[in-house]
């Protein structure tokens, strides 16, 4: 809720959005939220061969208060879900969530009593990354895409308008089961 959120909609806000997006995406600090197999691939991404430092993302912050991006890497159990939410709440705005791997995205192959069927039941997710586990290249690709998303994110009045639009669309959207056509 900084000054930029108070700007009137228009060219000025658009310029500030672009500038802020550029700044934010270039220094995105991930929080370490390694849970399972994906956490190892996440560490590999930070290690020399894949080198997340090329995208300004090598600084994995242990403290959620210093992090902008939570990479949920692995299956989230029912016992872990409240912890996950607490970490998310402790992160300062603006913040993004990347669900890494199918378990974090949808529960994956573990459709059972112990695993939360997708971390979007607990926190809002900005990017879903499939794979079991995703290769480091895939994680890097997700980084680039989330950078792109941050670059084009809206602020203030623009954000409100976008949210209203999205909500109106969501209210009239057909549930998956009623959709027709190919499975995609």
């Amino acid at each position: 809720m900084g000054l930029e959120e108070q700007l009137p909609a228009g060219v000025l806000l658009g310029t500030v959005e672009g500038l802020l997006g550029y700044m934010r995406k270039a220094s995105l600090w991930p929080a370490t939220f390694g849970l399972a197999c994906c956490a190892i691939e996440m560490m590999t991404t930070g290690a020399p061969r894949y080198d997340a430092a090329r995208f300004g993302m090598e600084v994995f912050r242990a403290s959620p208060r210093q992090a902008d991006l939570m990479i949920v890497a692995g299956r989230v159990s029912q016992k872990m879900a409240p912890v996950l939410r607490q970490i998310y709440d402790q992160m300062a705005n603006p913040k993004w969530v990347l669900a890494m791997g199918v378990c974090a995205s949808s529960g994956g192959m573990f459709n059972n009593y112990a695993v939360v069927q997708g971390v979007d039941h607990v926190v809002p997710v900005d990017m879903y990354l499939p794979g079991c586990p995703p290769r480091p290249e895939m994680l890097l690709d997700a980084f680039l895409k989330i950078h792109d998303q941050i670059q084009h994110s809206k602020l203030g009045a623009h954000k409100l308008a976008l949210q209203n639009e999205q909500e109106a669309a969501a209210l009239t959207a057909a549930p998956t089961i009623e959709m027709k056509g190919l499975l995609r």
Partner: protein, 445 residues
């Protein structure tokens, strides 16, 4: 004092007033204590903490910097894999077990498959080449697992270079895995009856290259750490656990070998033909974290020796089968990568789809229904990088496991955390836990 934070407030319990603190200014916390006479600081380390090897929660009672009482909280990665397997066929079970201890997938698969094979009564029908491939992959896996242990252990004590070079060598190992199995992690390559696929062309050359690479780069760890005064100061005499303690707590693996006792199932109860390989069981006699580090380092060399012997054997085994001959159990597909980079052997598809109705039915039944396993139970332990790993597999004669329980060494070894840490400094807790090398996926399953 902290009324604005929903996660941090004071509450009264039977043991007095309890304050939950989540990172504010310490002075405000002390001010909030008021004139409460008793001060007992209990620190929750984890479940989300960078130095606890995943989602391990350590509950430490502190007096200054000294840990007076320590307990583990686990279960934050409980995945219900054992229950899920009860609704899948025996072969599909491999896909589940490989995700338990995600740093040693081949050990999970082999432990499970050995138990299933004992239930099927086909232990001595496993082709020689399948056994050699299993040993090859397991020993490569031991190297990659120990590398992660040393790398993350180094990172946790602040030695970031150890982490970066550790992951560099691990990548080389993972490249080999990818070449042989198609996947970097979670391979599901070892199947009941053998392994899924033969070695691809050119794999042996890559293995030779890998051995040369490791021979060149493994000494770097010794040069970096063995005599490094900071490293030694952090590890020496930390996390002490002697042989009697290990036996009482059921500890196996490098921890027991660091007490000077060469307990290794590969020697004492060989499986997969380990008795025919030439290797030593390294030990150390200090019973501390430094000893465990040196044991792991030495074990990587021994594993490399075994990998080399496997490569020599595989050279002479070109074209031999890798799956049990019994067509009622062995996966029917003769897997071969097509021109499109995926798919089965075209000859096989032509045979089952165009020439033989029976082959098609057989293929369909084996894939959808799976084979039946005679009723009974089996437990075949193997030596994983962390100690004795075994699957207690119960069958009721059906196409699905009745119950699978994994005795995971991480789970058993983690019980030693309190005895290793109580009375030491907080910083030593990190070192002690890292020296046990628990993998939470294996602990919680």
């Amino acid at each position: 004092m902290t009324t604005t934070d929903p996660y941090a407030d004071a509450r009264s319990t039977t043991e007095g007033k309890v304050f939950t603190v989540t990172g504010q200014d310490w002075d405000s916390v002390v001010a909030g204590l008021g004139e409460e006479p008793e001060e007992r600081v209990v620190v929750n380390m984890g479940p989300q903490h960078p130095s606890t090897h995943g989602v391990l929660r350590l509950i430490l009672e502190l007096e200054g910097e000294t840990v007076t009482e320590a307990r583990c909280g686990i279960g934050y990665l409980h995945t219900g894999i054992e229950k899920n397997m009860e609704f899948r066929s025996w072969t599909q079970g491999v896909t589940f077990v490989t995700r338990m201890d995600y740093l040693s997938p081949f050990y999970n698969e082999t432990a499970y498959c050995l138990s299933v094979e004992r239930l099927l009564g086909i232990e001595d029908q496993i082709p020689e080449k399948a056994n050699v491939l299993r040993v090859l992959l397991m020993e490569l896996n031991r190297i990659s697992s120990h590398l992660v242990c040393i790398a993350t252990g180094g990172m946790e004590i602040g030695a970031l270079t150890v982490m970066t070079i550790g992951f560099r060598e691990r990548e080389m190992t993972l490249d080999l895995f990818e070449l042989i199995t198609g996947l970097r992690m979670n391979h599901a390559f070892v199947r009941p009856g053998g392994v899924a696929q033969d070695l691809p062309a050119g794999a042996l050359d890559k293995i030779r290259e890998y051995i040369t690479w490791m021979n060149k780069h493994l000494p770097e760890y010794a040069e970096l750490c063995n005599a490094n005064p900071i490293f030694k100061a952090r590890l020496n005499d930390v996390g002490y656990l002697d042989l009697a303690g290990c036996m009482a707590l059921g500890i196996t693996g490098p921890t027991v070998r660091s007490t000077g006792y060469a307990l290794d199932l590969r020697k004492s109860q060989p499986y997969c033909g380990y008795e025919t390989y030439d290797f030593d069981v390294p030990t150390w006699d200090t019973s501390d974290s430094y000893g465990r580090f040196r044991v792991r380092l030495q074990e990587m060399w021994e594993s490399l020796k075994i990998v080399e012997q496997c490569a020599d054997r595989l050279e002479k085994m070109d074209g031999e089968p890798v799956m049990v001959a019994d067509k009622k159990i062995g996966w029917p597909a003769q897997l071969a990568v097509g021109a499109d980079g995926m798919g089965n052997s075209l000859d096989h598809i032509k045979h089952i789809m165009g020439e033989s109705m029976e082959a098609l039915i057989h293929h369909f039944k084996l894939v959808t229904e799976g084979f039946r396993v005679p009723a009974g139970q089996a437990y075949v332990p193997i030596e994983s990088p962390r100690g004795e790993m075994g699957a207690h597999v119960v069958s009721d004669g059906g196409t699905k496991p009745y119950r699978v329980h994994f005795r995971d060494p991480s789970f058993a070894n983690l019980q030693a955390m309190p005895i290793m840490c109580e009375g030491s400094q907080v910083a030593d807790v990190i070192v002690a836990v890292a020296s046990l090398d628990p993998v939470m996926g294996g602990v919680d399953r």
